[in-house]
């Protein structure tokens, strides 16, 4: 696991993609690529539009599924609770074949409403293969952003990345999967309010081993 930690902690020099901002999008000063080893890189936020930029990020990457992860497999495994499609956002990554974007609506726990709240995660990997590359530390892996939607149809706000991260962790543990809560620093600590975007992310990602 030391190799895992070392690989995840190796933050390479940030190369921000400076492009116009979208109205209402959140911003960050911590956008950057995380080197996963073997030429593979993921960016530590997802974006509201393509190309991505520090001034239209959506949420911080906070969960990494590894070992035998694949987008459809993970979504199926959590499908009992996370069953509803969400709106699409975009993540940037490099699996060694050059930079590319993946779009994902993710999965939510409930339908949007005026008074209800729904947990929501989006899972990313190159769209051609639905997993990042293979390496001897992680096996096959994907990465995920998390948050919590509130009152989406009336006076909406969004928060609690940590809570949804913990929810995925607890469900994985409940399945008997190995999981490591707040395992590796993804260098995306955000704890502030930005309009209705209430950042609640401690910067440490949870690792979930998919059997």
């Amino acid at each position: 696991m030391r190799a895992l930690r070392a690989a995840a902690a190796a933050l390479v020099v940030a190369a921000l993609l400076a492009l116009p901002a979208a109205a209402g999008a959140a911003t960050t000063s911590k956008l950057g690529p995380l080197s996963m080893g073997y030429g593979q890189t993921i960016w530590n936020y997802d974006f509201t539009e393509v190309p991505g930029s520090w001034n239209h990020v959506d949420w911080a990457a906070s969960v990494l599924f590894y070992n035998n992860a694949e987008i459809n497999k993970v979504k199926s495994a959590f499908g009992g609770r996370y069953w509803l499609f969400g709106s699409k956002k975009h993540a940037y990554m490099n699996n060694g074949s050059g930079g590319l974007y993946d779009d994902d609506g993710g999965r939510k726990t409930d339908t949007p409403s005026c008074l209800g709240s729904t947990r929501h995660y989006r899972e990313y990997a190159p769209p051609s293969s639905d997993r990042m590359g293979y390496n001897p530390s992680f096996g096959y892996y994907t990465f995920t952003t998390t948050h919590y939607d509130h009152h989406e149809l009336c006076n909406d706000w969004y928060d609690d990345s940590e809570g949804t991260e913990a929810d995925l962790y607890n469900r994985a543990v409940g399945k008997g999967w190995a999981a490591y809560h707040n395992y590796a620093n993804f260098y995306n600590y955000e704890w502030r309010d930005e309009g209705n975007h209430h950042w609640r992310n401690n910067g440490y990602a949870t690792y979930i081993r998919v059997p």
């Binding site: 696991m1 190799a3 390479v12 020099v13 190369a15 993609l17 400076a18 690529p33 073997y38 030429g39 593979q40 890189t41 070992n67 035998n68 694949e70 459809n72 497999k73 199926s76 490099n94 699996n95 060694g96 074949s97 050059g98 930079g99 051609s128 293969s129 639905d130 997993r131 590359g133 293979y134 390496n135 001897p136 530390s137 992680f138 096996g139 096959y140 059997p211």
Partner: protein, 344 residues
């Protein structure tokens, strides 16, 4: 007159049932758990027969997969110094009417080393193999039958001294038609098994030289690279790709090298029409670890020739900067040489 048995007779009576029980236990043990072979500790390949299994191992709907047990010498660790690989050689066959996506996998002690998505379409199968020996191989096969021959390094956490379990499985993900009989059949063939090599997982190291460049509008600027390799697998042809983004690329966007040997150099040339910071990307796709590295290109508004007094100031400043850099280099050369090259 007592007719009791002699001491030796009683001993025989006790011993015989005990012997019979012992024989029965031994026979049962042979039938259910064949002797687990001790392998590894040297370079070699251990196919299913040498692992004590009868090939082919068949996996059909309702099975959890097939597994083979083997032992490695006490203290064995992945890559210290031997690297262990899994080889998965199999045929897969899908019934008509089945559509969707399956994962064909091989793992050692739960650490997945082969994950091959198979997309089953009406008249074809699409397979994607991804590992550290052959890189990425995506192919489409006509019909509903395909053969797989895949090797990959086992995860570091997957290898340990003592008992190990090699497990093969196929998992339906999003599938229609699973209710049909004989939906699919996988035969894990005899050449599947475990291999040991001294060859490290091949790694290509791609460096941008330099990682950031600056030019003026319309001025061509070179983006150089150095590609090196590490590991023990055969050298071969590579293609270095360059993604220029919205910059103008002068010449083709890929360069071919027949071998990497001790390292190969190359240069791409770009120019920009609009000032700004651009992120470009050098990459070597489809080979081993598929390295890539970003190169930031900054395009400045004015060319040196058209600059006015400000340009002169800039040139003076630039000259001063060069002097400072020269001084820094001189000072650095007087210090003991540092560590080697940092990977990008």
């Amino acid at each position: 007159m007592p007719t009791g048995r002699s001491r030796s007779g009683r001993a025989l009576l006790v011993a015989l049932p005990a012997l019979a029980v012992a024989c029965g236990v031994a026979a049962a043990a042979t039938a259910t758990t064949p002797a687990t072979p001790l392998i590894g500790g040297r370079v070699g390949a251990w196919d299913l027969r040498r692992l004590g299994a009868h090939a082919p191992l068949r996996i059909a709907p309702g099975h959890t997969g097939a597994e083979v047990r083997f032992r490695l010498p006490h203290g064995t660790r992945q890559g210290r110094p031997l690297w262990y690989l899994v080889r998965l050689q199999a045929t897969v066959r899908f019934a008509r009417g089945v559509h969707g996506k399956f994962l064909l996998t091989a793992d050692v002690n739960g650490a997945t080393a082969a994950q091959i998505p198979i997309v089953v379409r009406r008249g074809s199968l699409r397979l994607e193999e991804l590992g550290l020996v052959e890189g990425r191989r995506t192919r489409t096969v006509a019909g509903r039958h395909a053969r797989v021959d895949f090797r990959n390094y086992i995860q570091i956490s997957g290898i340990r001294g003592g008992l190990n379990v090699l497990h093969f499985a196929i998992e339906p993900l999003i599938v229609r038609g699973l209710a049909r009989p004989q939906t699919f059949e996988v035969a894990v063939l005899s050449n599947s098994g475990i291999e040991a090599t001294r060859a490290l997982p091949d790694e290509l190291l791609l460096y941008a030289r330099p990682p950031t460049v600056t030019a003026h509008v319309g001025e061509p600027v070179d983006i150089g690279y150095l590609l090196k390799r590490r590991g023990g697998w055969h050298d071969g042809p590579v293609e270095v790709h360059f993604a220029a983004g919205s910059l103008d690329l002068r010449g083709p966007d890929l360069q071919r090298h027949t071998r990497v040997d001790g390292g190969v150099h190359g240069t791409f040339t770009v120019s920009g029409d609009t000032p700004g910071a651009y992120t470009t990307m050098l990459a070597v796709p489809d080979r081993f670890n598929e390295p890539s590295t970003p190169v930031t290109v900054t395009i400045l508004a004015e060319t040196p020739d058209t600059a006015g007094p400000a340009g002169r100031l800039g040139r003076i400043g630039g000259g001063g900067l060069l002097v400072l850099v020269g001084l820094a280099l001189l000072l650095r050369r007087r210090r003991p040489s540092g560590s080697g090259e940092a990977a990008t």
